[in-house]
């Protein structure tokens, strides 16, 4: 009886949090530099997965595989299989433009366009034709800014330049810009590395809310941040995944010595 109840809970969780991205044996080469060695990782739907590991271990590289941003890097080659909802995103019938509309990205360094705040957020919906008219577009821009927790600070200067905002505001503007395209998955590459603790807290809060509707993969160098916001954690080391699993379990009782060493700050 007890066992069966457990199974029910498990089944329900799988329905909510089934695997959305399945990575199998992914290798990435930058010219002769073999950056990722046979990485396999499952990402669950509507959860936050954090990628941790020492600098240069391939976290950003892995992230860029998922929206095929590596295609834009000269001399970069990707092998292996990355399935998004059962479709290989490197397959011939997949259009990378469409893929990137579905898998949004927030970069390590805030990179707003040198345009107005409004135009920054409106750019994605405009190129994808998501709004039928001006009112629709206004609506999308405002809700995106609201979701990104920026609306209060910018609502009376929507038409001033996005580059005139502070670093933390710029990063939230970039998040709003990614949200405006209404993606399924959001990739975040160290989104808080340039932010002060207050702005960081705001972004973390935001991520926590966003996971209701979005699947989030986040690269971070802060163990505390990973522990606070993510449900799954993967530890990268020298281009390989050493350990992956429940965040709580990984941080409390890591099974690999190297993980243990990294999270306790002995190396990295």
């Amino acid at each position: 009886m007890q066992i069966q109840a457990d199974e029910n809970v498990e089944a329900q969780r799988n329905a909510d949090h089934g695997v959305i991205i399945a990575t199998r044996d992914v290798n990435v080469y930058y010219g002769d530099n073999h950056a990722l060695h046979g990485v396999s990782l499952d990402i669950n739907k509507h959860q936050v997965t954090s990628l941790i590991g020492p600098s240069g271990c391939g976290k950003s590289t892995y992230l860029r595989c998922i929206n095929r941003m590596n295609d834009t890097v000269d001399g970069c080659r990707v092998t292996g299989e990355i399935m998004l909802d059962g479709v290989d995103i490197y397959g011939p019938e997949v259009d990378e433009v469409l893929l990137r509309a579905r898998v949004g990205m927030v970069f390590q360094k805030p990179n707003p366009f040198p345009k107005s705040i409004y135009d920054n957020v409106a750019y994605g919906p405009r190129i994808h034709g998501l709004a039928d008219n001006k009112d629709d577009l206004d609506e999308i821009v405002l809700t995106s800014l609201e979701k990104a927790g920026l609306i209060k600070e910018v609502q009376d200067r929507l038409h001033s330049s996005g580059t005139g905002l502070s670093g933390g505001q710029q990063q939230r503007l970039c998040i709003a810009r990614a949200l405006a395209v209404r993606p399924d998955i959001i990739l975040m590459d160290e989104p808080c590395s340039a932010l002060d603790p207050i702005a960081t807290a705001k972004v973390e809060e935001l991520i926590d809310e966003l996971k209701e509707n979005y699947t989030i993969i986040i690269v971070t160098h802060s163990m505390q941040q990973a522990a606070r916001i993510s449900q799954q954690t993967a530890f990268f080391h020298l281009g390989e995944i050493v350990e992956t699993g429940d965040t709580e379990k990984l941080f409390t009782s890591p099974s690999d010595e190297r993980t243990q060493g990294y999270i306790t700050g002995r190396f990295g």
Partner: protein, 435 residues
Amino acid sequence: MTDQAQKEGGNAWQSEAFIKNLTKRKRAERRFRLTGLLAIITALTLLAILLFSIVSKGYTAFVQTFVTLDITFSEEVIDPNGTRDPMELRSANYSKLVQNALRAKFPEVTSRRDLRRLFSLVSGDADTKLREMVENNPELIGKTEPVSLLAGDDVDMVNKGYIDRNLIEDDRRVKDMELSWLDVLEADGDIEIHFNTGFFTNGDSREPEKAGIAGAMVGSFYTLVITMVIAFPIGVMTAIYLEEFAAKNKLTDLIEVNINNLAAVPSIVFGLLGLAIFLNVAHLPRSAPIVGGLTLALMTLPTIIIAARAAIRAVPDSIRQAALGLGASNQQAAFHHILPLSMPGILTGTIIGLSQALGETAPLLMIGMVAFIADIPSGFGDPATVMPVQIFLWADSPERAFVEKTSGAIMVLLGFLILMNAFAIFLRKKFERRW
């Protein structure tokens, strides 16, 4: 390490070697600044000398001497049959009127040779003016009126002080007799200096007092229009393609090297190319702005491509990634973000390229734009010349009066170059403000 520092009595910045090094560095910096200042002063001095010599020689090109004569519009010369037929009025011998007026003024001159000299006091342009006066107002016929007529180039030169009266007569272009006539005219208040509108409205002429740069200006304009219309879009598209779309491989490397080399090719080579392709193969009209423009476009292309590529490369990669990350296609990223952001740099490069083209002579000599052309071109296919070639032609002319024309034309050319650069700065500022 720390032990040693302590033994020496303090930290590194307190040590003698450090302080010595510091004074040395300061001295080096002062020296460098001084050299820089000297360089700037030298450059500015040279520039000032250049400008001074051009302006001091050329400003007189903008004024011209006029002689006022009492012209009798006698009916028997203009319209002997009294029909007032426009055809008749048009073909009448108006120089006769001028000659009569001069004869009346100086009745003592009788010999044929002296008369010829006397008549040359007034420019050959005078009859055109008289004809226009009569055609506009036939009432004039039969009356006598004082008319201000363009003086001949010798009179002009004397009046502007370019001919030394103290030289012995044989070494002087203007003889004693002419000088005495001039003195009479001067004494009667018949000699005046006016602003020379003809310099800006006339085409070239064999007679210096009539020669203007309007033909060359219009020719330069048509030529540059062609150059810009061809070179700008092709150059910018090439740059965008190479930077944003083309794969980076041996072939694109080769193309890059070749474009850089093309920018360094002597311009006359482009003239030969233009001659071979546009004239000998395509059989476009000789001496025409269309051919000149195409040839200069060939020459300007590498400059524009190089400037545009540099401007595009200067756009931070993060902008490109932001656009691509949102699902923009390469083309959208290029045209929505990269191109507008690099436009100021591209425009500056383009205008520098066009300024070069505006000042270019050699390639145009090869395609026949060096011919003497008196008419102002009215289209891209008309024979034309351009300002630098006009300067070259005038500098090559024997008449003394063309010297000031040459400097005057150089001043106009420099004026246009300054205008173009000002326009480049204006555009750059305008584009910059938008972000």
